[in-house]
Symmetry: C2
Subunit: 148 residues, 2 copies
């Protein structure tokens, strides 16, 4: 196995988890900057061509894990692997952001839900979608239906 | 930072990287099984409701990293963060699979591109798409256009 290392850090308007929009219908439209460490700049070559990036980051302010979680979008609990709970066996998070522009080692993005200073582990290009008609969203779709 | 730990292992038809479909138009339709360790079974509660899962796994047979990569889908090199190259600063991989059915700790899935025995780090539900009309795919779209 491996020990994680940051490739950069997120500059975000959110200083505390309570500030991040949560629950059904929450929109993630905040602007932020992925500040990549200078030693990794060659790894960003040609990234500007992609409209969306998958950012893999570390839940660095979470401690330990819980195998069931009550997400803010539902009043029922679910297995952690059926949720985006931060209390996971490996504290790995994933956020898809829109790449607005790049300035050297700074990726200016829209859609951050990370806290300011969050370590970034990896960035991958967003390549393809699952066709909407094939997508089932389990308890989340049920919670949305109950709300409506 | 954290040290990764497996939550389970992939059972895959691929024993060697040369067997995994690669390059433009490659289809990932192989069936496989995500065998989750028994201690994590409660974390799978309600996962059956989701048609697609994001599997986060470890490139455990890669050594080191290279900041630029020549992907099998192009004859030009690109920054590692604009590719899915296995030689990354953190050896973290991501595959979206279709969940066919669950038997206890075994998730039977379609669309594996991992090697047999690959350690699984995390599983997250696939929740939403980026609208196709907003998606730009940089060098990959260019390579596809040159091929056609």
């Amino acid at each position: 196995m491996f020990t994680s290392r940051p490739i950069g850090f997120v500059s975000s308007p959110y200083k505390d988890a309570s500030e991040v929009p949560k629950g059904l219908g929450a929109k993630h439209e905040a602007d932020g900057v992925l500040k990549i460490l200078p030693e990794f700049e060659p790894g960003l070559t040609d990234i500007e061509g992609f409209s969306h990036l998958i950012v893999i980051w570390e839940f660095d302010r979470s401690q330990g894990f819980q195998l069931t979680a009550s997400p803010p979008s539902d009043n029922r609990s679910h297995g952690v692997f059926a949720t985006r709970s931060p209390l996971r066996p490996n504290p790995i998070a994933l956020t898809t952001v829109e790449l607005r522009h790049r300035e050297g080692t700074e990726l200016h993005v829209r859609g951050v839900d990370m806290l300011d200073g969050t370590p970034i582990l990896d960035i991958k290009p967003y390549l393809s979608n699952i066709p909407d008609e094939k997508l089932r969203r389990g308890w989340l779709a049920e919670a949305e239906a109950r709300k409506n």
